[in-house]
Every structure is written in structure tokens, then in C-alpha cells.
């Protein structure tokens, strides 16, 4: 889902005319094991040479490590985001703003504390990474599962199945999905009101409205792959449809799927942050970068650092994924001259 903006994914999709990112199905890389391996090793060599993409990759690894080991890091650092330093001298009792320069930056709180609640900002950012990655990751997984399954089914079986799935994708792609997502979240949130459901519904909404993109790509690839000799060969040897789909066709889709994944995750990170910014995403005490930005919006004239920190966290993470995804696409693209 896009929150009033295009995405790197759209850029890629558009550049490739939505026919397929990455591996060129018209090319001659029949997926014999040996050739396949060499293709991947070529791609890996290319990727390693792309310093910008590798930098993105390193940032991603760091980000994941921070998210996974947030509790450990928090313990080492000696602060936690759950503690509210409201009445222990860190906040000005008159107007609840952090005392001291730069929003209360100190030896104990390296990035200062939040206004009003006096929470440690560094630990909030670490746990915000968790929220962001979990939601973006699971939403992407949902899009993948739906998109690959339905795209594969449509492309492989063609006929009325294809017609049904393709038309559904067309309709979904021309839906004002943003409005419907916001409406859906509000409604479901209203009916249940529980935090865990909010998490699930955000993942669902981001994931569900994202599947037609990958669905289209997969369908296009499968349509041409199913006519290839190796599929014919497998069929003549009596392989079942399921076997052909999973053993012969899917391995050829890994390239585009991988590219799609690295470019959809940042898209979904922005989606989660945007929803949280609008106040319909995750709610406290679950930390979220978007939520912090929305909160900082009230104080940014007095405490600008509080605005920049979560903003930069989103920017750096999303950029890292985009750079890596871009590099990956180039590396997997046999036409690419780079």
C-alpha cells in the first residue's frame, strides 16, 4: 500500500513494464542445476562489487541485529523505554518538556528523553525497529504467499481461473486502497479495541493490498515459463501439476521474488510508519517510529532533535533496503551492463 506516494517498487515495476523484474524468462537460462548455480554466483559477484548496495545490505543486517537483540542492548545500555522519567527531575514540571539542551541529551540518555513521558529515546528507537521490521516483514510475507500462489495458479492453469484472478487483481489495483485500508483498520479497531488485533489488522491490510503487484509479475513469468521445453519435458515424464509448479517453475521465480521482497519491505515500513503517524497504526506502549514522529510534531519548535531522530531512523532503514534491492535487481538482470 502506498501512503500518498509512489514507491521504489512501482519504479521497478514500471521500468520493467510489469512483465517481470530480474531474471529474463525469454533468455536462455534453462534451469539446469549447473547453469542455475553459475547464474547465482555471477549475481553474487556482481552484487559484491556494488559498494552502494553492499552498504545497504550491511545497514539491513545491523538493523535486524538491533531489532533481535533490543532487550540485550537495552540491558547493556542501562536504560529502558518502559521507564517514564516524569517526576524524577528530567522534565520541567511547568510544561513537561525535557530539561537541558537538545531534549535532555546526557550521559545516561544519549539521545535525550521524550517530552511529557520522559522515555529514553535511544531504546524507543531500538524497539521501534522491531515493530517496523516485524510488521513490514510479515506483511510482505503475506503479499508473497497470496501473490505467488494466485499468480502461479492464474498463469499455470489459464482459462477461467486466470480470468477470475486477473480481474480481481485489476479491480484491486484500481481501488482507492489507502482509503479502504484506513477505514478497515478503524472499523476493526473499533470492534475489538485490543492491541494485538491492531498489529494483525495492519499486517493484513498492508499485505493484502500488496499482493496484486507480485501476482501480476508472477503470472506474467509463469505464462511464458510453462511453454518452455523443460516444463514440457517434465510433463511428458508424467509429473503432476503440483510437482511442475513447485519443482520446475518456482525455482525460476526466485530472482524476481527476491527483488520484490527487498523492495516491498521498505514500502511496508513506510506504510506502518504512515498509519502510526495518522494515529491508526500501533499504539503506545508499543514503540513505533511513525508514532514518535507524530508525537514530535507537537513539539518540534521546542525540541527539534526529537523530530529528527525517528525521521532519520525511517530514512536510513528504508534507504538501505532500497539501495540493496536496487543493487540486487541489477545483479540479477543479465541485461544490466553495470
Amino acid at each position: 500500500m502506498t501512503l500518498s506516494g509512489p514507491t521504489e517498487l512501482e519504479a521497478v515495476a514500471a521500468e520493467d513494464g510489469l512483465t517481470g523484474a530480474g531474471l529474463d524468462p525469454e533468455g536462455d537460462q534453462a534451469p539446469q542445476a549447473i547453469q542455475g548455480r553459475s547464474l547465482w554466483s555471477i549475481a553474487w559477484r556482481r552484487l559484491r562489487r556494488d559498494k552502494v548496495a553492499m552498504a545497504g545490505g550491511i545497514v539491513i543486517v545491523l538493523l535486524v541485529l538491533i531489532a533481535v537483540f533490543a532487550p540485550l542492548l537495552q540491558a547493556l545500555y542501562g536504560q529502558d523505554y518502559q521507564t517514564l522519567h516524569q517526576t524524577d527531575g528530567l522534565l520541567d514540571p511547568l510544561d513537561s518538556m525535557p530539561k537541558g539542551a537538545l531534549g535532555g541529551v546526557s550521559g545516561a540518555h544519549w539521545l535525550g528523553v521524550t517530552p511529557v513521558t520522559g522515555q529514553d529515546i535511544l531504546t524507543l528507537l531500538m524497539y521501534g525497529a522491531r515493530t517496523s521490521l516485524i510488521i513490514a516483514g510479515l506483511a510482505t510475507a503475506l503479499s508473497l504467499i497470496l501473490g505467488v500462489t494466485l499468480g502461479l495458479t492464474a498463469g499455470y492453469f489459464r482459462g477461467w481461473v486466470d480470468l477470475l484472478i486477473s480481474r480481481t487483481m485489476d479491480v484491486l489495483l484500481s481501488f482507492p486502497t489507502l482509503l479502504l485500508s484506513i477505514a478497515l483498520i478503524t472499523v476493526v479497531g473499533y470492534i475489538s479495541g485490543a492491541e494485538i488485533v491492531r498489529f494483525e489488522i495492519i499486517i493484513f491490510v498492508l499485505g493484502f493490498f500488496g499482493w496484486p503487484y507480485i501476482g501480476r509479475i508472477v503470472r506474467g513469468q509463469v505464462l511464458s515459463l510453462r511453454e518452455k521445453e523443460f516444463v514440457e519435458a517434465a510433463r511428458s515424464l508424467g509429473a503432476s501439476n503440483l510437482r511442475i509448479m513447485f519443482r520446475e517453475i518456482i525455482p525460476n521465480l526466485i530472482g524476481p521474488i527476491l527483488v520484490y521482497t527487498t523492495l516491498t519491505i521498505p514500502n511496508n515500513m513506510l506504510g506502518e510508519a504512515g498509519l502510526s503517524f495518522l494515529g491508526i497504526g500501533v499504539i503506545p506502549p508499543t514503540p513505533s517510529w511513525g508514532q514518535m514522529l507524530s508525537d514530535a510534531g507537537q513539539y518540534f519548535q521546542i525540541d527539534p532533535l526529537y523530530l529528527f531522530l525517528p525521521g532519520l531512523a525511517i530514512f536510513i532503514s528504508v534507504l538501505a533496503f532500497n539501495l540493496f534491492g536496487d543493487g540486487l535487481r541489477d545483479a540479477l538482470d543479465p541485461k544490466s551492463g553495470r
Binding site: L91, D95, A194, S294
Partner: protein, 589 residues
């Protein structure tokens, strides 16, 4: 009445604090004589307008420029329920009774359209007023008692006239059962409201000693009998063209954009003892960007913010700059913020008291805006309402008000849950404070082993069907509900009738979030025929506190900024949480 309804709090840029709903408290209920009468001329100083009049002047002319982040809920006097709109109503509508003193905490009722306050029967069941003669609407037509009777009859048409505090009247006035209001049910029968010459008599179903206060609400302002605002402006659309009985005319209106008030040539100073208008025109402009409003206030291109407190940033600037601070006021707007603990969810009183002791009131106050936004509350009744006692704090939370962990633990023992329990904390979204209040309370209660989980609903349904539905409260186990309240009129009845009376518990749209249904409390509130005294008020205060279902943490304070060029400025705490009393303000230069 809902006290705080968050203005669409979704903008990234600072959305100023609460959009304040409805009237306020104060006055001690005992119709206290105006103590600080006159309160002579004051030079601009911090808090000068809270109790006094800043820059007194008799200079007339000029235009008062007001900004607001939103339009009124309605400009129909019977349908509006926002405090700031009640303040705006003072510009163009008059009622039988009005407030002649609106600042400080002791207010004075005075006859407005009537020649005197209400004459009542010994049992307080019939109230009679005599209308001053020769008072005219802005179209030159004379205001008659029939117009007031018509205005009362309109209130019963609840399918059209809704939104305002109409239930006070529909529940009290002796209309026939099933009366559908003037549109479908015709005129009210004489057994409910009778007219004789210039006098009008209200017949009540039960004794009601506070009736003058009801008559001072904008709700029963005269509406031209049957014709209302003229063709096209009857019933639901009267809000677009309300007829003026006050010194200003509601002359041009663009919904959600602006209202221009010009002078009413038929209004005569000699008939009005509570208003002394100075300016020729009042411009009310909606500017949805609170930061813009703050910038304009600081630059002096606007005179005051009409609907709510100034934004977070300007607040911080005002409090730290002496030159700005002398043009600001931060009065105690006699309202309170509290945690409702329904006994349907937390059934044992000792468990509720454990929450009371463990609560970090100082932290909660910090969330609502710090010392500039309130003072720590010891008991439920706010300053000004009869029964307020600053020394009364039955469940003290320690010197610094951060909670008394030992006392909380001993209450948990008595409750039979020495290791604590789990429950949910409800608040509405989106809100700048809801989530933070939750976090603060969660951290505070965690100290004694009580664990909290958040449950939220969006602003509109929160009050109607989420926290406002006892069945939902029970099924979702909303053990603590974040709430706030301000009085519709400054007596314990006007403050508590909706939030503490067992009879006021409704299946939806309930305001008694605590599910408070205590015999002592009910009996005190149901005895509407007896006047309130400090003693009776304190008795009520204590009875409510004893239930542990209403845990107050802050009495609200409200920070406003006035343009130095404004003259005759004073705060209106009687109706509008200390927003400036615009009808009497002038401008210099």
C-alpha cells in the same frame, strides 16, 4: 456532558489542547454574593484577567478578531454544547437569566431578559419569570414570552433539536408523556409552561432549586415563535441563521469558515445589565492550523483564540518570556480529570482503592500538560463547586503525589489479591495524551503487581458505545477509563448529575463511566429541591470518594493569550473554562 473532546487530533503539527465542551463550575452553588465586586482596573500581568478586568476602557469602536481551530458544533442556542460556543452565544442571544460576573470562581447570576431572578413556589416546583417589555430581535420584532415557550417546546423535538444539554429540560418540565416537540406535537400545554401577559411560568415534575442556573444556559434563548429564522431556517437549519436577541447580529456565516457579528441596532444598553459591548464588529474566523493561530496571536494580527487553549509551543514560549507572559492567563477552570473504575469490572472496593493509592498523580498531571495545565486533585469536587475542600484527600499518594506503594499493597491484601491483578485501560484515539496516560498508569500500577493492557476506540464511538456502554465496559473488562468533566452549571447537581447518578446510567452514550450507583450519592443528587451548601456538597464529595470508583488526579487550568490591544478583558469561567468574555471586550488602536 463530555468535558474534553479532542479536536481532530491528527495533524502532525501541534494540535492545541482540548476542545472544551460546555460550561464550567464554580460559584459555590450557594449563589454566593459577588465578593470581588468591581475588581478595578488592572494593568496587564500574568493571570490578571482570571479574577479582574485588564485594561478597563469605555472606548467604543473597532473590530475584535477571533480565531478558532473549528466551527461551533451548532450556532442554534438549543443545540450547542461546547463551552466556547456558549461564550460566543453571549454575543447574540439573551436568556431569562444570565451571568453578570463570569470571572474568578464565584459567579453572579442576574436577570437578563427577565425583570428578576425566578420566583418559585415553596416546593421549588413552579418557577415564574416576568419578561422585560419592549425588548426586540435584530429584525425589530418584539420578544414575547411565547417565543421562550416556543424555544422550550423545540427542545422536545429530539429528532431535530439534539446535541445540546436538552435532557435537563426534557426530564424536568412537566410535558405530557410522548410529547414530540413543537414541530410534530404542537405547542406545549399550559400544564408545562404557561404564559400570562409578560410573565412565563415553568411547571416542573419535581422540585428543582437550581432552576435559575438552567435558565442561564443558552439552551432556552428565545426563538421567534413558529417562524424561527425565516423560510429555510427552521429546525435543523436554524443554526445557519439564528435570530439575534443580544447586542450583536449573527450577520454572515460560512460554515467551517467564518462568522461576522455586527451590532444589533434594536438592542438597547438600558435593557441589559450584564453586557457592555464596545466593539462594532466581531470576526470569528476558523483557522484549522493551530500553529498559524499561535503565530498570529504572537504577531498581534489576531486578538484571541476563541475555542481553546494556546498550542504547546506558544505555551512554552509564553511561560518562559516575561513580555509574553504578562499577556497570558492560566486560571483554574474548575473541571477535573479522573480515572473511572467501574465496579462491574473491578468489583472489590479494596482493589479499587489499591489503584487509587498506587496511581502516580504527578505523572498523570505531567502528561496533561504539567503545572500549567492543572493542580493535583485530592478529591472529586473541583474548586468553586460546593463541597470543594483542598485539605480533603482520603487516599493520599505521598508528598510528591507519585503514589503510596505500601498503602496500595495493604489494600491489595484486603482485596484478597496480594500479588495484584490484571485489567484494561481504556482511552480514545487519536489523542496526544491517551496513550501517555496509559503508559504512566501502567508503570505506576506495575509497582504493586497490577498489570494494565490498553483498549482503545476512536473519539466518536468512545463516548457513545465504547466507554459509554456499560455492557461493553463489562464485556471488554475496561477496569480503568480515562475521563474528564466540567460542569454544565456551577452547582454539585450541574457537575455530577450525569457522571455520578445511578439513574443517569444509560445503555449507550452513558457518561457515568464509573457505573456509580451508590445509595448515598443517588439520594443526595435526587434531592433536587434542596439548595446546596458547602456541608451538603462535602457530604457528596465524601460519598463519591468512598466508592473508589472515581479517582481524580487533576483540577484543570487553562492557558490563554490576549492581544495587548484588547481592553476590558476578563475570563469567562462561568460558561467557558476561562476563555475571554468577548461580549464585553474592546480594542484600542
Amino acid at each position: 456532558m463530555r468535558f474534553k473532546k479532542r479536536a481532530l487530533a491528527l495533524a502532525g503539527v501541534a494540535v492545541a489542547g482540548a476542545m472544551l465542551l460546555a460550561g464550567c463550575s464554580g460559584g459555590g452553588g450557594t449563589t454566593s454574593p459577588s465578593s470581588s465586586s468591581g475588581s478595578g482596573g488592572l494593568q496587564p500581568a500574568f493571570n490578571a484577567a482570571v479574577n479582574g478586568v485588564v485594561n478597563p476602557s469605555t472606548k467604543t469602536g473597532g473590530t475584535l478578531k477571533l480565531l478558532s481551530t473549528n466551527d461551533c458544533d451548532s450556532w442554534d442556542p438549543a443545540r450547542t454544547y461546547y463551552g466556547f460556543c456558549w461564550n460566543m452565544q453571549r454575543l447574540f442571544t439573551r436568556q431569562l437569566v444570565g451571568y453578570s460576573k463570569v470571572n474568578g470562581t464565584k459567579f453572579t447570576l442576574a436577570p437578563d431578559l427577565a425583570t428578576g431572578l425566578g420566583k418559585h413556589s415553596a416546593d421549588n416546583k413552579t418557577w415564574t419569570y416576568t419578561l422585560k417589555s419592549g425588548i426586540k430581535y435584530s429584525d425589530g420584532k418584539t420578544i414575547t414570552p411565547a417565543d421562550i415557550k416556543y424555544a422550550v417546546g423545540r427542545i422536545f423535538a429530539s429528532d431535530v433539536i439534539n446535541g445540546g444539554p436538552t435532557f435537563y429540560f426534557t426530564g424536568l418540565i412537566n410535558a405530557p408523556a410522548g410529547y414530540k416537540g413543537v414541530y410534530k406535537g404542537g405547542e406545549l400545554p399550559d400544564s408545562a409552561v404557561s404564559i400570562s401577559g409578560q410573565s412565563i411560568t415553568f411547571h416542573l415534575k419535581k422540585p428543582f432549586a437550581d432552576f435559575d442556573y438552567l435558565m442561564a444556559l443558552p439552551t432556552t434563548a428565545p426563538v421567534p415563535d413558529k417562524v424561527e429564522g425565516g423560510s429555510g431556517f427552521v429546525g435543523g437549519t436554524y443554526t445557519k441563521h439564528p435570530v439575534s436577541s443580544g447586542p450583536f447580529v449573527f450577520s454572515s456565516y460560512t460554515p467551517n469558515k467564518s462568522v461576522v457579528f455586527t451590532r444589533n441596532k434594536y438592542w438597547k444598553q438600558s435593557t441589559d445589565t450584564i453586557r457592555k459591548p464596545l466593539v462594532n464588529e466581531v470576526d470569528f474566523t476558523v483557522d484549522t492550523n493551530p500553529s498559524d493561530i499561535d503565530q498570529k496571536l504572537k504577531a498581534g494580527t489576531a486578538d484571541a483564540k476563541a475555542n481553546t487553549i494556546i498550542g504547546t509551543t506558544l505555551q512554552a514560549q509564553v511561560l518562559s518570556s516575561p513580555t509574553l507572559k504578562k499577556n497570558a492567563d492560566d486560571g483554574a477552570g474548575d473541571s477535573f480529570s479522573y480515572l473511572a473504575v467501574p465496579d462491574t469490572v473491578v468489583t472489590n472496593v479494596h482493589c479499587r482503592l489499591a489503584i487509587a493509592y498506587a496511581t502516580n498523580k504527578a505523572g498523570l498531571l505531567q502528561v496533561t500538560g504539567g503545572a500549567a495545565a492543572g493542580v493535583v486533585a485530592g478529591s472529586v469536587t473541583p474548586p468553586g463547586v460546593a463541597g470543594y475542600d483542598p485539605s480533603y484527600d482520603p487516599f493520599p499518594t505521598g508528598k510528591d503525589h507519585t503514589g503510596d506503594v505500601a498503602a496500595a499493597k495493604s489494600e491489595l491484601q484486603k482485596c484478597g489479591k496480594p500479588n495484584g491483578f490484571s485489567t484494561n485501560f481504556a482511552y480514545s484515539t487519536p489523542s496526544e495524551t491517551g496513550g501517555k496516560l496509559f503508559q504512566t498508569e501502567k508503570a505506576a500500577l506495575a509497582r504493586v503487581g497490577i498489570t494494565l493492557s490498553p483498549k482503545t476506540a476512536d473519539g466518536s464511538s468512545y463516548y457513545s458505545t465504547f466507554a459509554g456502554s456499560p455492557a461493553n465496559v463489562k464485556s471488554q473488562e475496561l477496569g480503568i477509563i480515562s475521563a474528564g468533566w466540567g460542569a454544565d452549571f456551577p452547582t454539585p447537581y450541574g457537575f455530577y448529575a450525569n457522571i455520578a447518578n445511578g439513574a443517569a446510567i444509560l445503555p449507550t452514550g452513558n457518561s457515568n463511566y464509573s457505573n456509580l450507583n451508590d445509595p448515598t450519592v443517588n439520594q443526595l443528587l435526587d434531592d433536587t429541591g434542596t439548595k446546596w451548601t458547602q456541608d451538603r456538597g462535602l457530604q457528596l464529595n465524601k460519598a463519591i470518594m468512598a466508592t473508589g470508583q472515581m479517582l481524580p488526579y487533576s483540577f484543570g487550568k487553562y492557558l490563554y493569550y490576549r492581544n495587548p490591544r484588547m481592553t476590558n478583558v476578563t475570563a469567562n469561567f462561568a460558561l467557558a473554562f476561562g476563555i475571554y468574555d468577548f461580549v464585553n471586550a474592546g480594542v484600542s488602536g
